[in-house]
Chain length 487, copies 4
């Protein structure tokens, strides 16, 4: 599974979501002058590799910029697919970074190509950029109304996209009407006031926008608020301004990706007013209620399942222990010259903390089971090291359906929940029992915290209240997609 | 001064013009199947760096492909500017590699952008690609007439371009009606027949097209003929076929770049039926006639001026000697940690072969003087090492005008021939005398060999004879551009 | 603080202690034939960088080998200092890898140099290798008694060293009489029996020796036993054999480095029959007894203090929570182009899990405080994020003295425990209170588990029982060095 | 064939002999203070690769230093074999760089190892360093007499070595009594006086020593004189001083390697008072006298044979032309993915300048024929391109014997002159005739210039005149080695 993320701001900001292996990164800055000077850099690999110091130096005169990091995908990862995508138009350069996947990308590509435009990459970012350039027709003499063009784009594709669109002296942060991908705003404040709750709005030194609020702390910014579903927020030297909220079709609920809570986001990120860690802990508590276990100890598959495991332990009043110790370097980089090493598998990645669980019945919490390949050898390892029983409790429901909105989930056939073996999943992976959180349990764990935070959040205007109605995309779990799919 | 070059063929062929520092290289291949599989690789640096073995491996299943190498320019050399440029259209992918510079690029960019197309690079290759996609309008159902589109493109821009345009199973080799940039065709023959004059046409195993014929030898191909000015040659599994010759405006002569003979081309390349080395040697002979010298020995600034120096020596009956020995590695890569080393200048690049010329009057032949920075310290070195007189004879006329057709010549102000010091150029560079070849002398040295070769060449058809009328672009020497410039 | 580690075996085994930043790695193998073929490779950086695939390929025909990894030190890290050190002698090559630091290295270097030997590195490994070659005098005709030479070396230097000495077909694993550095033996077993307690001694496919048992699992080996203090163990195709145990001076106790338990070792390693994780957990429990706190929650500075924090939580019956989330990539590789980013400090490395502790009194467990630079900004971060009180409890006593036995501890002046500010350490670092584990508490937590394991261990012979008497080096805490220091 | 070279001086000087592929380079500098600070850097690859800027920066505070570059050899090229070799002794560090090969290395290694010293590399440099440290015995209290130690070393090994030995504030430049390897001294002068014959001795800003005088020019130094066979020259802040000339056995002549003239040295280097280029030109003239040819044109295998070819042309009064054009990059770096490219061989490296020789009889001059693999395809290429006859004239005699003095000549079996095919060498390589220069001819061409220069050279003292008696090592041509070989 993979996804991408965005950052923008008035500083050369680089941030990647670090649980996942980064694949490429791009950054574009503008100095906001007239005519503006743009500088761009794209590279393959981690941010630190993709941006050698001399590349960053080139960027330092910019005072606004957008950046994109992309994670490993099954697709081809040529440098050309790197975002942000920048094109020259009759009215100057525009740069677009995009997180998500347009559900009607195929039809939109045809439309653009029928107009006689060749597309040089397979990325939605180029498609969006050419759509912005293309319609309505460009007039040579007058400056185009970029906001109208963005609204026009939003009328042609319902989801899924969080966008950063940069023109010479302005950035627009845009979230699709369903709010499927996250996007939030932070304020750069003086370092001295960084952690102080007393930092006033007038202390703001600049604005940043990011897929995940956890990146704000790394650059000395404070979380401000989310971009609302359908909202277009303008960022310029005059500050931020909410321009418009494009509505969803009557009756449709928001559809923020529930897997951001379950798996993707860093635990210290904030979505919908609540910390991801806390949601995961609640998932663990809910799991303990739905699937209690007669066991001696509770533990985690490090490190993503730890909040859920602690929640399960608290609710079940079983002691929380550690059973595995991560072998940091070896897992990623070890060269395997012999058959022996290939056969070793998971034993290269984890050390068993035998004394902690030998002779005991272990409840092992995992955040999700996708293919079932990873958990099976861990169970074997624990049993051989002396665990008398290993019960798997999964802090999310089984994944059964593909995602067409930006998350690269394996094909339906590869998902363990769609295989015949799933009927006896415990037997298949060698566990004494396996239980999953229900969809209802997950939704209640996620949505319980939203209600309580609603009133605290900074409201844009009363008319936007409807946008805040609660709803989440659970398509990969239920097959109910937020919009009709078009292919 | 810089330029770029093209290669295509039925084999994964890589060739750079090696006197110049390469900057980037790109290659795209197709397997010609339906639907075709394209593989592409682009990289910065020399061919050997830009194409690591694993990249070449990816390409090996292609049976047609185009390749482009680009030389150091004053412009920005982002990877994105790398050719060939590939885009997806309604009717499949097209790939374009381009050598030259469109004189009306600015107007054409405006035209494309007015249509609503964003241009992601500043390269003419992308511009050409989008023009091919754009006009006439694409119809979804029927395959477009690519040849008509190429002709349409040629009607919109007179020069300067040599193009390779690849569709799934066909490559078109195109030269502009003025023939400003070179382009020639070679036959891949069995290695055993490579150097044999008896290799028949039926021995052909494949076809290659290149900016310079010298690249053919490196891959085991025999020179076949030039693409004519204005000609469109089709290469496919059915062999090569001349489709059409787009004519020049009534009365215009061809305008092949004369600096290819003077400076750019590798000496073993063939243009207009004659070897570049031989032309350079004739320039040296002509120079000896126009500018004889009372001296003891003739020598060369290694290595590009050597054929002219040998020609001068033969004509003047003065002995040819070597005066400088090139310090191969140091010049390019030496790190200069101290002021001393920075001051050393040319002494790091050349060793003086003192004993050969001490106490003698030297005629030193150079191929061209652009800024006058290089020759001056060489003269100083020779004099300090014992030459009693140093007379500079330049085997081409003074460069006075910028080139807008693909050669990156310094600005008018930087050219020594436009500076006040030029009046006393000998005094300025420290020579005892300086003399240049005349434009007439250069033209006669170049064109003398063409007449004699005309009849030997493989004629396309009698109607094409007009295309073979002799004419060369001497814009950088005379300011007479082959077409009106539009900016 | 830094240290190095060793591995040997009958397989091309690479293992580093992965909590610490690796700096260089070396490996030497022999095919055991006569004359033997040696292959060696050394490189800077992580094992994966230091050993590119083609280097490992070269090694594959070896059937015995030794390897060394070295961690970042304050010293110069030229490649030449890389171990293993290999020299050619009259009787063939010998290779030595060394973990530790000879307390009388200075005097031994003088001795070697007085004999007329030039030393090409500052490493003890070269010194040991030359000492083995030097004394007693080499005779040309007969093979030398290498074991006698090793014993002779051991008589000249009391500590600190764990050694691997390889001759053509044999490896000697040697631990100094005080057992200051760890060294343990593992058995390679069929993968199928790896985790099975039923694996018999006859299943052994080869032997490996390592500084830390955690490396065994990564290569498919089972922990067998420690090399005893003073023991020489021979490994060859005939298996392993304990040759001799060189005694300590009458009355001296063993002096295994207590900081291996506190800080250096990976938690799943086994020393003296007990798992490091368990010892750390006991340290946490002991700390809760010695330094109870009136607080709401217990947490850890991730990740090394987690076992102690869990132990503290269990003993104190306070809930264990997570307060910090590690920002994996950024900390190590982020480029800091602006003052802002430099000022951010620890905020780049950790995200605060605010909701878990806002409004609460936190007991934060750390494993050790060396300079006091790291903990102070973490406390600030927690307080600003809403912790009402932060109490620091350190699971080891204050470090006050330098280590001369292989651990690169900062100078006395840099240690916070020796600074005037230490009197009010809580005020200095901004904590509400600070308390350390006592030396007695640490010793009891460490030694409690040894007694219970003593009888289970595989005894070498009754005469060796004395070697197993319990004792640890606490020099950095107490200033009591196991032997007199000579400088 | 390969060799190595030395440079030293009062500046951070890097110079390689650039016709040959460099393999590794090392540099060591000292600041001459007490105690001195040494800094060292060694690396694989070309000087520019081996010494990244940050490594050179480290060196800049040195004011004396020695450097070594090593060329591709058949041996193992581990970084450890990199020179200079530096060891710590009782009296401080010594650094040794060595060019040559000790004829009795095997016996000396045994001697050193019998003393109990382990040798960590196979290099003579380490051996020399340990011999200097070893004998006579080191006394702890008094400083050793390094010059006596150097003389002692010279008494133990007759040849072949040019040495640079650095102690804290002094460098000794040493040449073996036979003068087998070159070594010469240059003066650093103000850049303004670099090429002026008027530069006085008082203008000297520092001294440099190098294997080849051509390197002086690159760093702004003037050639001063050679180190004499057997001479020890001391370089310090007090200037240079000739300390002693160790004599050869009664009756032995000097034995400077004649292949330095024929092949190795850069043409602008000076040996024995004469420029290498001039010697090569004389060889060509001599060859024209010994082996005249009935032909139309004379040419060269570029570029090393050019001076001889020009000499041949002058003597024979045949016109000199160029027949081949070097394909600079491709030869070295081209990746050969297909059989076709592998078969192409020499055609990838050279372009035929067909028009220059088609229909003509060509005399092609080569400097030497070692294995006969290179010349054969060149002849084929020329004939296929139209040469009616190709006569090979070689400007040196056939190589028949191995060199044990530092030049890595192929084994006797591989030398074409020792193969049965040599009887009909012309037929074997496809030439119309083949003739070699005679040993007498070569010696006279070399020695003719020495006599005339003798009196001009700066004499050390009358007693040294004997050292200047003329003699050269022709062992590879005649089998007469200057000293008895010991293996």
């Amino acid at each position: 599974m993979q996804k991408s993320s965005l950052t923008t701001g008035l500083s050369s900001v680089l941030r990647g979501r670090d649980q996942l292996g980064q694949e490429s990164a791009g950054i574009v800055t503008s100095n906001g002058a007239c005519p503006p000077i743009y500088t761009a850099h794209k590279g393959m690999g981690l941010v630190s590799t993709a941006f050698p110091p001399e590349a960053l130096l080139k960027l330092r005169y910019g005072n606004l910029g957008i950046c994109h990091t992309r994670y490993s995908t099954t697709g081809i990862s040529e440098l050309q697919n790197c975002q942000p995508f920048v094109v020259d138009t009759l009215h100057g350069k525009i740069a677009v970074a995009h997180n998500g996947e347009l559900v009607n990308a195929h039809a939109l590509r045809k439309k653009v190509m029928r107009h006689g435009v060749g597309l040089s990459t397979s990325s939605d970012s180029e498609l969006i950029t050419q759509l912005l350039a293309l319609t309505p027709p460009m007039e040579e003499l007058d400056a185009p109304d970029w906001v109208a063009r963005i609204k026009n784009l939003m009328s042609e594709t319902p989801t899924s996209y969080s966008l950063l669109v940069m023109f010479k002296d302005v950035i627009y942060a845009v979230r699709d009407p369903y709010g499927n991908r996250p996007l939030c705003i932070g304020r750069l404040v003086p370092i001295s006031k960084l952690h102080s709750p007393a930092a006033e709005e007038e202390d703001t030194e600049g604005w940043v926008v990011s897929s995940e609020s956890c990146s704000f702390q790394s650059i000395g910014a404070k979380y401000y608020r989310e971009v609302l579903p359908g909202e277009i927020v303008q960022i310029s030297k005059h500050g931020i301004k909410s321009l418009s909220v494009v509505p969803r079709p009557e009756g449709d609920l928001p559809a923020f990706c529930i897997f951001e809570y379950v798996y993707f986001a860093r635990p210290d990120s904030i979505f919908e007013g609540q910390m991801v860690y806390t949601v995961r802990q609640r998932c663990g508590r809910q799991l303990a209620i739905e699937a209690p276990t007669d066991a001696d100890v509770v533990s985690t598959v490090p490190e993503s399942a730890t909040p859920a495991a602690l929640g399960y332990a608290q609710q079940s009043r079983l002691p929380y222990i550690e059973v595995l110790c991560k072998n940091r370097y070896v897992g990623r980089t070890f060269i395997q010259p012999t058959t022996r090493l290939r056969q070793l598998g998971v034993a290269k990645k984890f050390g068993a903390l035998t004394d902690n669980f030998a002779g005991k019945r272990v409840v092992l919490i995992d955040d999700s089971i996708v293919r079932g390949n990873t958990i099976s050898p861990i169970i074997k390892l624990l049993k051989e090291a002396g665990a008398t029983e290993v019960h798997i409790r999964v802090a999310s429901p089984p994944i059964k359906f593909p995602c067409y909105m930006g998350i690269n989930i394996p094909t339906k056939e590869e998902l363990i929940a769609n295989k015949p073996e799933f009927k006896d999943i415990a037997g298949y992976i060698g566990a004494d029992s396996v239980q999953y959180l229900t969809v209802e349990g997950l939704l209640s764990a996620v949505q319980e915290g939203i209600a309580s935070h609603q009133e605290k959040d900074k409201m844009i205007s009363p008319s936007n209240k409807s946008s805040k109605r609660v709803g989440h995309c659970t398509a990969c779990l239920t097959g109910k997609y937020p919009v009709e799919l078009e292919w």
